[in-house]
């Protein structure tokens, strides 16, 4: 490191800070509790990260296209409640497509408002966070939703099943990640998502229908949310109205931790998966070292702030600058 100036080190920290912090956490947790790196613990973390991960896949598209989605948490509650309720009314075979259709409608509404009406995505999705929560409570009458016959339904496979010894939620997460990773990296649509988020004006000047791309990203995001709701409902076969509360920030934290820029135009599915795992391992590690569960909310916030700061710092190549 001889010959490094202070600003070189600042630039390095800014670019690699998240990974450095992550490794420090890992080392610290491993010293504090040898169970941390045990295979069953790692499997546990991946499994419990699947729901967050599935949602983060969709939000990755939204963020790369230059927008935000803060509604995914309450939208996931909505999906979970709706599919549980319809399970007993229509049977699982009809309940699942019906729930997907309703959730996609919500995504389409957001996509219309942000894409075609060009409203600010922060305001639209923050409003939707609250509106969808109200919709869910109205739908359920405020009561918890439970499946009557918990033992006698194949519906539990999505959350509790295993195929070749691998939990189904992990399979869904990995499968969807592979599919969406290819869509983003290899298809014309994926290319346009980057173009719209990187420079929407230049994209328009290149004949890309920007509104349509933004709309599609929100639709995709709501599809991922519906999938996450399905896993959640299937895992517990009963749910509170607030099951997804707060997840929007964790999802956003994972996407930014992975290195997608909040300004749009950058990020990949692979990076998002890394972000999801970092967040999962840190939260798990904190539990293992004996921190109260509720302290996680504070830690998640600190991680988000750190990630956003480093995102900006990486752009200007130093940790602090007098100019914006």
């Amino acid at each position: 490191m001889a010959g490094w100036t202070r600003s070189d080190i600042g630039g390095f920290l800014a670019k690699q800070g998240i990974l450095i912090a992550f490794f420090l956490f890992i080392i610290g947790f491993t010293i504090a509790n040898e169970r941390f790196l045990a295979p069953e613990n790692i499997m546990g973390v991946v499994r419990s990260s699947a729901i967050l991960g599935v949602m983060a896949l969709g939000v990755t598209f939204v963020v790369i296209s230059g927008n935000l989605d803060l509604s995914v948490g309450s939208m996931m509650s909505f999906s979970t409640i709706v599919v549980l309720d319809l399970h007993d009314k229509l049977g699982p075979a009809l309940a699942i497509p019906a729930m997907f259709a309703l959730t996609l409608c919500l995504g389409a509404l957001i996509g219309f408002l942000v894409g075609y009406l060009k409203l600010n995505s922060l305001i639209v999705t923050l409003g939707m966070l609250s509106a969808i929560h109200g919709l869910t409570l109205t739908y359920s009458g405020g009561k918890n939703m439970d499946i009557a016959d918990k033992g006698g339904t194949w519906f539990s496979i999505f959350g509790q099943g295993e195929i070749f010894g691998i939990p189904v939620p992990i399979l869904i997460f990995v499968g969807l990640a592979a599919l969406l990773g290819i869509v983003l990296a290899r298809t014309p649509f994926g290319r346009k998502v980057y173009a719209v988020g990187g420079n929407g004006v230049a994209a328009t000047f290149s004949g890309i229908r920007r509104a349509r791309i933004v709309f599609a990203c929100y639709l995709l995001s709501s599809f991922c949310v519906a999938t996450a709701g399905l896993i959640q409902a299937s895992r517990s076969l009963g749910s509170q109205n607030t099951v997804g509360q707060g997840l929007e920030l964790e999802v956003l934290a994972a996407v930014i931790l992975g290195g997608a820029s909040l300004l749009g135009g950058s990020g990949t599915i692979f990076k998002t998966i890394i972000g999801v795992l970092i967040l999962g391992f840190i939260q798990n590690g904190l539990l293992l070292v004996g921190l109260q569960f509720y302290a996680q909310y504070v830690v998640t916030w600190i991680i988000i702030i750190l990630a956003v700061w480093l995102d900006i710092a990486a752009k200007r190549g130093r940790l602090w600058s007098p100019l914006a």
Binding site: I182, R186, T187, P188, R191, K192, Y194, A195, G198, N199, V201, A202, A203, T204, F205, S206, G207, I208, R209, G265, S266
Partner: protein
């Protein structure tokens, strides 16, 4: 007058940017009570000089002297305190605040509790407004005022301080004739109070009507100061463009084909009116005019970014309706936009992806983008346009301006357009790349492309065009062939001289 102490004197101002000597030893002085015009082509160094005067740029050499005192200005606020005030072309007012607050922003009078002393503020402001004889008062919200009146607020702001010199940058650009009269009265009033005025304008009639002396810049150098009363337009033009153009005038070296694009009586609100022209295959039609003359807006209309309010567009003799860039691209119209970084490129995306962006839907095998097809297109245009980049993976933002522009041109050539529109093809590009791009445009024309070039640089427009359309405030003043055009006649046409003949 020559014995009076100058209100503002510049001595040998030098300002260099990497690779460019933007100001090369510029000296001139403005006397108290004088209106001094500053003229020069776009790129001659006027705006750089004004930024030096306004404390935005620090000069690399030379001195600024206000009332015989050498001054250094590190910020616009400091310039104001030294007595140099700007009336900007783009107004810099807070629209939601009152006139009085805007005028005294940053130095609002307050009482002993630290609260704003409104009574005092409004009285002070109204006193200034009365001097300007304007029809609004201190309490009016600035956003409710017309552009002309907002300009008056800027002028009022200038009067709050002991202004030694006031600089007007194209002050009449968005004023009606009646509003101009009021502005000129105010300038006369400032004059009579001994303020030195620098007046930047391209409009010859105003220069002759308003100014006492004229200083001309060219290529960053001082070219001379003329006494307005003893000067003719020809003298000024001579000084402004007097160089022997190293760019030889283009000679038509091939036959033109049929009309590819015809525009008939096209209008778009107040942006431009009654525009008719045609472009034949193999022909380069240059659009020349001042910034704001409506040239870019016509291009944007042809590319589906604006909807015309009247008129027709014909492509190969067939009327077309272009409602979006997607329509334009399908019809074979391409636009290399004016602002390459904001409109032309996704800077964070690699060169290849930028180049193939408009046709990425077509470059597929199955559902996937076909890498090999993309690399082939990129390779073809990299060689053809001599784009210098280590690899297609290089981010567009990391290339030089000239290479960036070639990526944008390559992007649109790869679409094989019938009509290629190039807006300011060489803005912010070094001299070497400039002539390459000029040559490229000529080559494309000889291959049969119908091309529209919009430029604010006269040598460029003269060099590349087969015909030149001269525009002034949203109208076509005159169309020249390459053979008949002269620099003088072109400058006259775009300055609005001879407008009366045309309208009558």
């Amino acid at each position: 007058m020559s014995t009076a102490t100058p209100a503002l004197r510049l001595e040998n101002i030098v300002k260099t940017f990497p690779g460019v000597r933007a100001l090369d030893g510029v000296s001139f002085s403005v006397l108290p009570g004088e209106v001094h015009a500053l003229m020069g082509e776009n790129g001659a160094g006027k705006s750089t000089l004004m930024k030096v005067l306004g404390g935005i740029y620090q000069p690399d050499g030379g001195e600024i002297i206000v009332s015989e005192q050498k001054v250094v200005m590190r910020s616009p606020l400091e310039a104001k305190h030294k007595g140099i005030v700007f009336i900007h072309q783009e107004l810099s007012l807070a629209k939601e605040l009152s006139v009085a607050e805007n005028i005294y922003l940053g130095e609002l009078p307050h009482n002993r509790f630290g609260l704003v002393d409104w009574q005092h503020l409004f009285e002070k402001t109204d006193a200034i407004l009365q001097r300007l004889k304007v029809g609004f008062d201190a309490r009016t919200r600035v956003g409710d005022l017309s552009i002309a009146n907002q300009q008056m607020v800027e002028i009022a702001r200038a009067l709050t301080h002991e202004a030694k010199a006031v600089i007007f940058d194209e002050p009449t650009a968005s004023l009606t004739d009646a509003e101009k009269v009021v502005l000129f009265e105010v300038i006369e009033d400032l004059k009579s109070h001994g303020v030195g005025i620098i007046y930047i304008s391209h409009r010859m009639e105003e220069i002759f009507k308003m100014t006492d002396r004229i200083t001309v810049l060219r290529d960053g150098q001082y070219r001379g100061t003329l006494d307005t009363a003893q000067t003719t337009e020809e003298d000024i033009t001579q000084l402004m463009i007097g160089r022997k153009l190293d760019l030889t005038r283009n000679a038509v070296d091939h036959e033109f084909g049929a009309a590819a694009l015809e525009v008939e009586n096209l209008s778009c609100g107040t942006l431009y009116t009654d525009i008719s022209f045609s472009v034949r295959e193999g022909e380069v039609v240059g659009f020349y005019g001042l910034v704001g003359a409506g040239r870019t807006e016509i291009a944007e209309t042809l590319f589906g970014l604006r909807t015309p309010t009247a008129g027709k567009i014909l492509l190969n003799g067939r009327e077309v309706h272009i409602e979006s860039p997607v329509d334009a691209i399908e019809l074979g119209i391409s636009l290399v936009p004016e602002n390459r970084k904001e409109q032309g490129l996704v800077l964070g995306m690699n060169c290849r992806d930028n180049m193939t962006l408009p046709q990425v839907d077509a470059l597929v095998s199955g559902p996937f983008v076909k890498d090999s097809a993309e690399i082939e297109i990129f390779g073809h245009y990299r060689d053809k346009l001599e784009i210098k980049t280590p690899s297609w993976k290089q981010l567009a933002g990391n290339l030089s301006g000239g290479n960036q522009q070639k990526i944008v041109i390559g992007k649109w050539l790869s679409m094989h357009p019938k009509v290629l529109i190039v807006d300011e093809p060489t803005r912010g590009i070094d001299v070497g790349s400039k002539s390459e791009i000029h040559k490229l445009i000529r080559d494309l024309a000889s291959q049969g492309y119908a091309i529209i070039v919009i430029s604010s640089e006269m040598p460029e427009i003269l060099h590349v065009s087969d015909r030149i359309v001269a525009m002034y405030s949203g109208r076509i003043m005159r169309t020249f062939t390459a053979q008949e055009v002269t620099e003088d006649s072109l400058i006259q046409a775009i300055s609005g001289l001879g407008e009366s003949e045309k309208v009558a």
